[in-house]
């Protein structure tokens, strides 16, 4: 009996230290295949197309053309600052709102927290549409020109993406030990100090998670920019759309798309490095 147990242990020990490569491959293959088929291959096509100008051959000409154009540089700048500003706005607003919902007892706080979940499932253009109904040219409040400026896009993005920051924050706040807040309070700390010195440090991972998500989503946001109808506001996704659909300049569109992807991945990576440095 004891011998059998011994043997079983040895067998199990061996299988754990060196898993059979074949068995592992069987399980890993389907998801890898799906990833290649549905994600990497189309992406590779886009990259490939970006090196094939309409005049034929393989060259960097599309890149040179796109980088030289005023429109692209403007769109690049607009995309980046809008995304950064929106993320900053979402972080500040989301943190304050989550604080109120989590720590200021008011009737209906639970219901509001539930509504945040529902809000996340709304399509982004819906929010823009709602803003148009209120502030647009034929809106309830009256016509406000700012809606068709970058500030309108910023307002819409902050409005729509703030709940994406609040969700992880509320989860983090519910994990926070209220005894810590009480300890801080009886040690003589008032609310602002408690928020700054106790709550904020413990919310950093959640802020990093929510912030990086919102940053990437904002960089790639299309619906909001389209629906505000802001003529002067051209972001990279809008540029891809207009080049590909309106101007039939596929190589140009692919170049912009590649740049957009690189910026998304790059900024996201930078954000993670920075937030990890910050102790999150």
């Amino acid at each position: 009996m004891a011998e059998a147990v011994q043997k079983a242990r040895v067998v199990r020990g061996r299988s754990r230290s060196s898993p059979r490569p074949f068995g592992a491959l069987v399980w890993a293959l389907p998801p890898i295949a799906a990833l290649i088929l549905f994600f990497l291959y189309p992406l590779a096509l886009v990259v490939q197309q970006s090196f094939h100008p309409d005049t034929g051959g393989t060259s960097l000409q599309p890149y040179a053309d796109v980088f030289a154009s005023e429109g692209f540089r403007h769109a690049l700048w607009t995309t980046v600052w809008l995304a950064l500003a929106s993320t900053a706005g979402c972080l500040v607003l989301g943190f304050l709102l989550a604080l109120v919902i989590a720590f200021v007892p008011f009737p209906g706080a639970k219901a509001v927290a539930r509504f945040i979940d529902v809000y996340l499932s709304f399509p982004s253009f819906l929010i823009t549409l709602a803003l148009l109904f209120i502030y647009g040219t034929t809106g309830i409040v009256g016509s406000f020109q700012f809606l068709t400026t970058p500030w309108g896009v910023l307002l819409a993005e902050v409005t729509y993406f703030t709940p994406f920051v609040m969700r992880p924050l509320l989860a983090a706040f519910s994990q926070l030990d209220t005894a810590q807040l009480e300890a801080a309070s009886s040690l003589g700390a008032r609310a602002p100090r408690i928020v700054r010195r106790v709550i904020l440090p413990e919310a950093l991972p959640a802020l990093a998670a929510g912030g990086s998500l919102v940053l990437v989503l904002c960089l790639n946001e299309f619906g909001i920019v389209l629906f505000t109808g802001a003529k002067g506001v051209t972001t990279l996704p809008m540029l891809v759309y207009s080049k590909a659909i309106l101007e039939s300049d596929y190589p140009g569109a692919c170049v912009v798309a590649v740049v957009n992807v690189l910026i998304s991945v790059g900024l996201y990576g930078l954000y993670r490095v920075v937030s990890r440095r910050a102790g999150a």
Partner: protein
């Protein structure tokens, strides 16, 4: 600075969790609030700290009515069961937290932190993070943090409950030493553990079902409890219903000589005898019963003996030849070891 509860009542949604508590903790005194969970003892402590608002009644710190003051203006040190250290701050920064919040001059903070850590024996761990410390060490840091602001009142809410038994007795000695070193600090010590209360407290307030049952020195409560709940909760007790005669009571057909001053002859009462004061064999106040259960506890044997339908417990020095189950045994106790209590639940 003392603490005074002036008919403090606390209710949540109409549920009274603390019923008209009147209690005074003298300056420099250690008062234990002892009771089972849900007895209102933690609520009483939280009312002093400022985390629950009494529905009625006032709370005083010294002569100051603090009932309407927010926690941060009460100047109280508090230590809780789960330590509640700030996980992202190092030990010294945890201890400095209260000093910074109270705008202590910068130059003074370092010395005060060192002093508090020295007092709790944690000076060597100043640069550690809480997660790098054991439970006992974390609780020492929490105590240092509470003491760093030099409070006149220290509130301890089950501070040792999260520690294992061995550590607990060590920490108990530490707390007793701290009390000797800080003779002016009043301590309110909430616990459900009678050993902690008996060891540490100058006085014990026994609480049950939102009410204060009894308050006195550990010796008083142990030697001369005044009600059945206190007798059984503090130290454990045999509580048997008896009828009162003149100069004694009757139990299981035997007359027991006890002090019956102030009790009407013929009335029902409860006889209280501590299990370790019950002896085996012949003696005064002797009665006979059947052994129903026998537990060996190392240094002692505990016998459960059925006497006339009532279970009597006896803690005896380890027996060489313990009786068997169902054996008939004689038990006895000295008259001065028995206390007569007003009839209560044991008459069920």
């Amino acid at each position: 600075m003392g603490i005074r509860f002036d008919s403090v009542t606390v209710a949540y949604d109409g549920n009274v969790v603390l019923d008209s508590l009147d209690l005074t903790v003298e300056p420099g005194e250690v008062m234990a609030l002892l009771g089972p969970s849900g007895s209102g003892k933690t609520t009483a402590l939280r009312a002093v700290a400022g985390f629950v608002r009494p529905a009625s009644g006032r709370v005083f710190l010294g002569d100051r009515d603090v009932t309407d003051l927010p926690p941060y203006r009460r100047g109280i040190g508090m230590v809780v069961q789960q330590y509640a250290l700030f996980p992202h701050l190092r030990v010294d920064e945890n201890v400095a937290f209260g000093l910074r919040a109270r705008k202590t001059p910068k130059g003074e903070i370092r010395g005060r932190v060192a002093e508090a850590l020295e007092m709790t024996g944690m000076a060597a761990y100043a640069r550690r993070f809480p997660r790098e410390l054991s439970g006992g060490q974390q609780q020492r840091v929490a105590i240092a943090r509470a003491l760093a602001i030099r409070p006149d009142v220290l509130l301890l809410d089950e501070p040792l409950s999260a520690l294992d038994a061995q550590l607990r007795s060590g920490m108990l000695a530490e707390l007793a030493r701290l009390h000797r070193e800080l003779p002016d600090v009043s301590m309110l010590y909430v616990t459900h553990d009678q050993v902690e209360a008996l060891t540490l407290a100058d006085r014990i307030a026994v609480m049950d079902a939102a009410k204060l049952r009894a308050c006195g020195t550990p010796r008083q409560l142990y030697r001369a409890p005044t009600d059945e709940f206190t007798a059984s909760f503090v130290g454990g007790a045999n509580l048997v219903p008896v009828t009162v005669g003149t100069g004694g009571v009757f139990f299981a057909g035997t007359e027991v000589k006890v002090d019956t001053d102030g009790v009407i002859p013929g009335a029902w009462a409860t006889l209280c005898v501590r299990p370790h004061l019950v002896g085996l064999g012949e003696g005064p106040n002797q009665f006979i019963g059947t052994v129903t259960e026998i537990q060996w506890r190392g240094a002692t044997h505990r016998l459960y003996v059925n006497v006339d339908g009532h279970t009597v417990m006896a803690d005896l020095r380890e027996l060489k030849n313990p009786p068997g189950l169902g054996d008939s045994v004689s038990l006895h106790f000295a008259s001065e070891d028995a206390v007569l209590l007003p009839a209560g639940v044991s008459h069920g």
